[in-house]
């Protein structure tokens, strides 16, 4: 170890010179193939600073000594070329980037983003180190990356949010290197097993004593003998299919991979773990897929693994300070651990007097890793939203395909689609599950089961009919439907099962304690004309209703079940069980016939009721009470029938509503998403444009008082002075005439009214004597009406006379100001 460093110091200066000129050492073809214009790159990408050159010298030296001392080890990835064809040290390619997106504050978010945002570019050769490593900034632009670039981006993000993260260069199995997930089960497929919370019931010692079981010991023994063989047979069946076995990978253990190691200690990480940047999935450090580690690095240092990797990474120790296990490239450079320690002690340092000296001392210690050359890594909100290259990604899993879409990409709001297959070759579809977002019909999830052809839809709360869940085979009224509703419904309906001939409704927390209602229908075909268009008429055969116990009533009067046998004109009532009996009371009523044209209504008699009441009630119930019971039951029956009709109608409504919604899918556009914001902006611009158009149109069409005259006189622009004067005079005279006409009109009205009044008065004077009271009244009201009218006419005339000259003047002024006439009328 020490020897390495000493020689490093010696040879450092010599090599520095050679590295100053290494910019051009990369073949031109590569640069061209990268299709990167040098000028677009910032300067730091194209030129190595002095510190970087010194670092490269160290690295070169280190590599030479490393290959000298360990000739059987494979070369290290130390300074690949970047997108501008300049050699850069890998640690300086990491740029700790803090983002403002809250999604990227956790490692889960970062890993998911890196995995979904980039698409994998396989290494040129799966076993050779790449000769280039692009900066995270340029990778984000192209959205294509090798596993090394994946890891570099993810590590940069993690360092930015203060994780103790490292890039790991090592070996992994083929599936991981090539992002082949077809052997894994889709994580969305395994439904979480709901842990049944066992009721915390205390063992009560007062319980039923078990009956002595009369069982043959011999038989049990025989049975137990049989068991193992049956279990073995079961196990046999569970063995995986032959088709799933893959051929052995020839390159196993040689395939290069790069991933991220997160060490415990910061951000309340309890244990070290790996993140595979290609999938964004975290693994324990002993996971089987990782076969070996060559080196790890972060933005402070580069460590070469000195431990044996023959048994994978399971026994690896990640104490990077330990020089026997991890050989650092920069000896004495600060590590993350030191930084954490320092931050803790900073306050103490501040207290001491000679702070400066001590700090200087610290700085003198060793060569520090220079700053990153990578330009700012910026991740926009839009990047986060669109995620996948092109906003869409397809992943193949074992017997399943997962397709994901960016929000608003698909017009029907589809976000995720999971297709699961029956077989490994993915030919026979078993189940299609789709997740939606932002839909106005609140659909969140749809599951189409191709085997039994059932469609299950789940909705968010708050949609029409409070529907939460809908399962059907076909979206028609005739088929079977299962609907679940949210508990805020007024009728407390929770579930409704409809099938041909039957409907079951379940309620919760109803005030009348009804919890169950089953309806049986008898169908009869309608041939009559008027029913052709309406729904097929259904006939109720039987309605069963069940109620919870209402403890405020005695059990004998608390109805447990009501059966309306509509077809048989019977109603059966069963009451709740008393606390200590086995047989419930029940009553059975026969409905008396209603009055028809031929017959009088049937009278109610005691025979129409057959009842069995528990208890020792000697006095029979009075007929009147029975009759009242029957009447209220019949009333209830009517209501129930009505409710059932409503329910059926609602089923039809829901089905048609769903059909309509599916036919015209609409999405909410939330203004807090970039797509929504863009849409809102364009909408506003459109509205502004329209408003402006309308404004201009209005402006153009403003009333032109000269237009009719111009047309009549057939004068075209521009006006001559004579024309203008003539026009002016014409206009004024016409207006004057109009005013006079108005005045005349009012005058005429006034005279008419006066004349009529006079006539009436004359008539009154003549007939005053032989007049009835009523006529007198009529006359009086007539007179007052007339006088009012006359007065109004007079007032109007007066007003007109006052206003006319003013109006005339106003018109004159306006004409003089008119741009077409003004120049000619100045004189």
């Amino acid at each position: 170890m020490e020897t390495v460093l000493e020689s490093e110091e010696d040879e450092g200066r010599e090599l520095e010179k050679t590295f100053r000129n290494t910019q051009v050492s990369v073949p031109r073809q590569l640069l061209l193939s990268l299709n990167m214009a040098d000028s677009s790159c910032p300067e730091s990408h194209r030129i190595n600073s002095a510190a970087q050159i010194r670092l490269l010298t160290f690295a070169n030296n280190f590599q030479r000594q490393f290959s000298h001392m360990y000739p059987d080890r494979r070369p290290l990835l130390l300074f690949p070329t970047n997108e501008c064809g300049v050699q850069k040290f890998v640690s300086t390619t990491l740029r700790a980037t803090a983002t403002v997106q809250p999604e990227l504050f956790t490692w889960e978010g970062c890993a998911e983003f890196a995995a979904s945002f980039l698409s994998l570019e396989p290494l040129d050769s799966p076993i050779d180190l790449p000769s280039y490593l692009f900066s995270p900034a340029s990778v984000l632009k192209t959205q294509r990356a090798t596993c090394f670039e994946f890891a570099t981006l993810l590590c940069s993000l993690l360092l930015g949010v203060n994780y103790d993260a490292y890039c790991v260069s090592g070996y992994a199995d083929k599936e991981m290197c090539l992002l082949d997930q077809s052997l894994q089960d889709c994580p969305l497929l395994d439904t979480p097993v709901q842990s049944v919370i066992s009721e915390e019931s205390q063992e009560n010692k007062y319980k039923e004593k078990p009956q002595r079981s009369l069982k043959s010991h011999f038989m049990t023994q025989e049975e137990q003998k049989k068991k193992p063989s049956a279990e073995a047979a079961l196990l046999e069946n569970l063995k995986p299919d032959e088709g799933e076995q893959r051929p052995v990978d020839r390159l196993r253990g040689l395939r290069l991979h790069c991933w991220v190691l997160v060490l415990s200690g910061s951000r309340s990480v309890q244990e070290n773990f790996f993140i595979d940047p290609l999938t964004g999935i975290s693994y324990g450090t002993a996971a089987a897929g990782f076969l070996g580690i060559e080196s790890v690095w972060n933005n402070h240092n580069y460590y070469v693994n000195m431990q044996d990797c023959r048994s994978g990474c399971s026994d690896m120790v990640y104490d990077l300070e330990d020089v026997n296990m991890w050989e650092p490239l920069l000896f004495g450079a600060t590590s993350k651990k030191q930084l954490i320690h320092e931050a803790l002690n900073k306050n103490l340092y501040k207290m001491t007097q000679d702070v400066q000296e001590e700090l200087e001392e610290l700085e003198e210690q060793a060569f520090e890793m220079p700053r990153s050359w990578v330009s700012d890594v910026s991740i926009t909100k839009k990047d986060l939203e669109t995620r996948w290259p092109g906003g869409h990604k397809l992943t193949r899993y074992r017997k399943a395909e997962l397709e994901r879409f960016a929000p608003y990409l698909r017009p029907n709001g589809l976000i995720t689609r999971l297709v699961s297959y029956k077989d490994l070759d993915c030919t026979e579809v078993l189940l299609v599950k789709e997740w939606y977002q932002h839909r106005t019909d609140h659909l969140e999830e749809r599951e189409v089961n191709k085997v039994d052809n059932a469609t299950t839809e789940r909705f968010k709360r708050g949609r029409r009919f409070d529907l939460l869940f809908h399962r059907y085979e076909s979206l028609t009224t005739d088929g079977a439907h299962e609907m679940k509703f949210s508990s805020i419904r007024v009728d407390n309906l929770v579930q409704r099962l409809v099938s041909p001939g039957e409907m079951t409704e379940t309620f919760e927390r109803r005030a009348d304690s009804l919890y169950y209602r089953r309806v049986n229908f008898g169908r009869h075909v309608q041939f009559s004309e008027e029913h052709v268009n309406s729904e097929p008429a259904t006939r109720l055969l039987q309605v069963v209703e069940r109620f919870h116990r209402n403890s405020s009533k005695p059990a004998n009067e608390d109805v447990a079940e009501r059966v309306f046998l509509l077809a048989q004109r019977r109603i059966e009532v069963t009451y709740h069980l008393d606390a200590d009996t086995f047989i419930p009371s029940h009553r059975s009523f026969i409905k008396p016939r209603e009055a028809t044209e031929q017959k009088k209504a049937e009278d109610f008699t005691q025979d129409m009721v057959s009842s069995f009441m528990v208890g020792l009630s000697d006095t029979p119930v009075k007929t009147l009470i029975l009759y009242e019971m029957l009447v209220s039951l019949m009333k209830d029956e009517e209501m129930v029938v009505h409710q059932i009709e409503e329910s059926l109608k609602e089923v039809r409504d829901i089905v048609s509503c769903r059909e309509e919604e599916e036919g015209d899918i609409q999405l909410f556009f939330s203004p807090w998403t970039t797509t929504g914001a863009a849409r809102a902006r364009s909408k506003r611009q459109e509205m502004e444009r329209q408003a402006a158009e309308e404004q201009s149109w209005l402006h153009e069409n403003e009333k032109d008082i000269l237009a009719p005259l111009l047309m009549r006189l057939d004068i075209t622009d521009p006006l001559s002075a004579d024309d203008a004067k003539e026009l002016h005079q014409e206009c004024l005279s016409e207006f004057k005439q109009k005013l006079v006409e108005d005045a005349n009109l009012i005058q005429e009205r006034y005279q008419n009214e006066t004349q009529e009044l006079q006539k009436k008065q004359q008539w009154y004077h003549q007939n005053q004597l032989d007049m009835t009271e009523q006529q007198e009244d009529e006359y009086q009201t007539y007179c007052s009406d007339r006088t009012l009218q006359i007065r109004v006419a007079m007032r109007r005339l007066k007003m007109h006379q006052e206003e006319a000259p003013l109006k005339y003047q106003a018109l004159d002024e306006r004409l003089r100001e008119d741009p077409r006439l003004a120049p000619h009328l100045l004189s």
């Binding site: 009560n204 010692k205 007062y206 319980k207 039923e208 004593k209 069980l577 606390a579 200590d580 009996t581 086995f582 047989i583 419930p584 209504a601 009278d603 109610f604 057959s610 069995f612 528990v614 208890g615 020792l616 009075k622 007929t623 009147l624 009759y627 009242e628 009447v631």
Partner: protein, 521 residues
Amino acid sequence: MSWQCGAAQPILMDEELVQKAVDEQTPRDQGGRIARAEGIHLNEVLTIRLDFKHILKIDNLWDFTSLTRLYLNNNFIERVEGLDHLANLTWLNLSFNRIERIEGLESLRKLELLNLSNNRISVIENMDELDNLSHFFISNNLLEQLDNVLSLRKFKKLFDLNLSGNPLSKEDGYSYFIAAFFPNLTCLDFRLLSEEKKKEASIKHYLAVEKMRQEELQKQQADDAEQSRKAELQLHTDAFVEFLNGSNLFKSMFKDDPEAETLRCVTGVAHLLQTFEQQMGELCEQLFEIGLAEHKRREAEVNSFLSGHTKLVTDYQKKASQVLAEFEQQHQERMVEFRQLSDPDKLQVKIGHCNDAINQLSDSLMSLELKLNSQLEDIIKELDINISDMVGSFTETVQGIFAQFRDLEDTYHQNVRDIALATLEKVASDSVGEDMSGDVRWLFTDKNMVMDALATGHDNHLLKISDRETQCVTRVEAWKVSLVKGIQDKELKRNHKCIADTLKYMDHLREQLDEFQWPDL
């Protein structure tokens, strides 16, 4: 208003009138027909209208025990009387009469609406029993004192009040006064009391209302304290350790001791007495705590038994219901079959089958009941054993502690005796100081008298202790016995009832069957 004109003759409220009124209000439809056919019992009538009848005196209403609504408005009634039997009345209309005093409403505890409008009442009184009153109309009367209305504040449910047309309602700020003192009121004089008005009123009369509320609150608190004290005492009594916290027992021991006070004055005795009291107190406290803890344990045991009992019964009920449901389904099918069968021979065979099925059902139900009964008896036995254990150990503890009481008493007695003897000697030798009072000196002149007094005191004390002990032990024993007995009785009743019901049901089924067999009968 005809009664003011005096046009009509007042009539008596006799049986005929009432009967007629009942008859008139019976509807003419099917239900009415049935009712008439069966005969109308006055004690089942719920509503009766006796308005505009020129009635002078309320009478003949004692049969209407279930009456809920009574209309006696627009009559000539002068006194409220004869309503004593109408305990279920919720609605009473006495408006447009000549009533001058509120009275005779004592038994109408369920009354919710009371209409006394258009009478001649000048004071609100005699209404303390009407706890459920929610509507009270007393408009157009002669009420003058606003303060008198405040007596209505005790009706917590009152929300509709009508006082218009009284002299008091003409006073300034009358409505604000009412609104302030009746914050729960929603309607006053048939008008909705708005929130703003209530607020304004409460500001206006803030001080007075607040004072009144404080007083009521204090009274309420005192009542609550009394209640909780009573509840606590009840708990202690249930635990059989009432009055054992503190030095009650000790005090009761020395309460009837005539010589105790005299003896106390002897030097040394007071000190002895004090230690004795302290020791007794500590022991009592210990006993008290044990008693409460034991009570809790017993309660828990009984509760656990009850829940187990309920569970057992429900389980068996479920089983029985299943059996029953199966049978009924088959039975229904059979009945339908019977109706279609016409061949009498076949019918006979079928009915035979049916009978068998009924018998089978009966058997299975009975055997279920038998099993349940034996199970229940088992757990009752278990409860008996457990409770007996508890009671036994409690009794032992109690007896132990009481033995300690006796020991203490003995020690005390011995000590006092010693002191008494010493004092006797002193008195005899006349060497006592001047500090001894005359009484004591006189007592100690006679040795026999002193010894007698001490012995009686001692005996008395022991008797008191024994009494308390016996009381405690016998009561706990009695409690146990009555508990077990009660449970056993209940079980017996349940068993009887269940069997009776089952038999009754079988009879019912057989009767139904018989109808098929001999349809002519």
